[in-house]
Amino acid sequence: MKIKFFSILFVASFIFIFFVLYKGLQNPNIYKPDANYVKDIPSFYARIFNSDNKINSEEIFKEDKFYLVNIWASWCIPCRDEHVFLIDLSKQKNIEVIGINYKDNKKNAKSFLNKFNSPYKFILEDKDGTMSIEWGAYGVPESFLVYNNKIIKKVVGPLNKKLLLEIKKIIQ
């Protein structure tokens, strides 16, 4: 009786451990950020790029209007790839593109904008990267679609044609 009990217990625990490890095998161990969420935008007070003025987040984001907050840097290669899509978006009527210049050299950032044109209505400076963290960013490039002071879509990595169409669909 006792032996039977222990053998059942042994088999049951073996099956249990096998099941747990097998399930774990299928899960990817690379962290994927949750991109589909609605969150409030952070409130901040930041310096405008290439000027001495500072601006409050409430002055930037108005209700009933779409904003694309794009974190970029001149040293970031994928930012160059997505630049054409940002220029395209900046030509749309009902959206404003706002840049956050992440840990960048002013001179390099300026020549980047001169070379590729600026899609941004204005650019905020993020010298130490803390503002990007307050937005919940992982690195550059990263974009946040904002509507009514809420982040309604988050894009980690560069924008592409498919994402551009998705954003256009949302704002229309």
Binding site: I30, Y31, K103, D128, G129, T130, S132, I133, G136, Y138
Partner: protein
């Protein structure tokens, strides 16, 4: 009187150092419990990535603003989700993680008790 002032100054300077050291200890404790999300298997404290360095600065800033350790964890959880914390909280997703060791301990204890103590008697 001059001697008194001299000692007072030294006393204040030493005390400032102690409070500063406590701040650093707390900052280290917090950054050790935050996971670097872009570098696998490292805490913010261990990592030197851009993300980790910015997070270290932000933790420093939040401590200076007067936020407590728990408030900082909640802030980070709100921004990046439960995954950023090395010490997960007890909720519907983590209850097995927390309860299983206790359950195994109790079952194991019961087996040992039954096998050795009852048999002895």
């Amino acid at each position: 009187m001059n001697l008194f002032k001299y000692f007072l100054t030294i006393f204040i300077i030493f005390n400032l150092n102690i409070s500063h050291a406590e701040d650093i200890d707390l900052k280290n404790k917090i950054t050790k419990n935050l996971r670097c999300l872009i570098c696998q298997g490292q805490s913010i404290y261990d990592s030197d990535s851009e993300f980790a360095n910015s997070l270290k600065l932000l933790v420093d800033k939040k401590l200076k603003e007067g936020l407590s350790e728990k408030q900082i964890y909640n802030y980070m959880k709100d921004k990046y989700g439960q995954w950023i914390l090395y010490d997960p909280e007890f909720d519907k997703n983590t209850y097995i993680l927390w309860l299983l060791p206790i359950l195994m301990f109790i079952i194991g204890g019961a087996i040992i008790f039954k096998l050795f103590i009852i048999r002895k008697n």
